[in-house]
Subunit: 148 residues, 3 copies
């Protein structure tokens, strides 16, 4: 029954593992970025955190909220990519197509974070980056539903 | 060592892949739904988004927030279902039971979204739909902890 | 091509499955905890929920928000651990190291929830627990990127 996994091409799989790990790393960095902003601006969500740094109270801050929104967008998209990327590989897709889709999602999600939370570029920069990851993810999902 | 995956029954696995992909698709659609509500009502979370559409400022809106809460509920539950469904299959469960659990979670999560964010039905509709996905997920998780 | 999964050591894999399932269970419990707090304090986010219990309106509450923040921290970290733990195993890591990392993340995430949302301990308790799960997750991610 290990034949279940026979459809997985090693080259496509290696690309999947690489880009999944890169995006997991990128998403983990959002926690670090939030923490740095919180400590730098003394903006905390919990009284015990504020107490630790001598900040007087819990409050919100536009820069912290921006990083949190970028993080939340990762939360809504990256775990789904990692999950569906694996299931999509089981449908035995064309290797070049699969590798291209993984790369596209990987690069687009990195650009999405950069223009959202690091340099803040005018729209539609973020929207374009978001779509360039969203459309391939939708495609892989539908391909999996149909062929799965 | 590929025997690790020998416990996976192909019929149960096919059902798992299908319902996982369906729920990933459903969850991806929440982003689309949020975007449509945001543009339709000109309600944005970022100044650069508001600027793009001529909206004067960032603000919140009850309808947008409702879709976002439904999306967040997916975020809290669907990736866990996809993860634990796979691990549960490795414990070699009864095929009919496994297929039934996957179907139940799949259908209940779709109904949950419909009564939460599309038609807005009186409680306990949403609570019942939520439980009908939650209980099977808890069951699969505990079965995996015990037999894993 | 099932050789893709040959690098997975059964003992490391069993540890991975166990701790992943334990953390999925712990995270699922956050929904239960939120619900209990909401009903106990009659604090709801939706008018239809408030209507069901005779609460007059939707509102927020510090205790409910604290549980929700702990849950959100799980959302940001636990699915990534489950995903990267699996990919990390494919890189053929030292078994003792892998098992130690899984245990560390598992125990640290449980302690994180306890000191965040159950007993509320002074900082840096939560920060230390968070780091003791974060650092191993980062390590596994980078090991996967490099060797993947």
């Amino acid at each position: 029954m290990t034949t279940l996994f026979d459809a997985i091409d090693p080259r496509a799989f290696r690309s999947y593992v690489f880009w999944s790990a890169v995006l997991v790393f990128k998403m983990l960095m959002m926690s670090y970025l939030t923490g740095r902003k919180r400590f730098g601006r003394k903006v905390f969500a919990n009284p015990e955190d504020a107490a630790m740094t001598g900040a007087r109270e819990v409050r919100t801050d536009p820069e912290v909220e921006r990083v949190r929104r970028a993080h939340q967008n990762d939360v809504e998209n990256i775990p789904l990519f990692v999950a569906i990327g694996f299931l999509y590989l089981l449908t035995g897709p064309d290797v070049t197509l699969a590798v291209t889709l993984f790369r596209l999602v990987g690069i687009a999600r990195i650009v999405h974070t950069l223009v959202y939370a690091v340099v803040v570029v005018r729209q539609p920069a973020r929207m374009v980056a978001w779509f360039l990851a969203y459309i391939p993810t939708i495609y892989m999902t539908l391909a999996t539903v149909v062929k799965g």
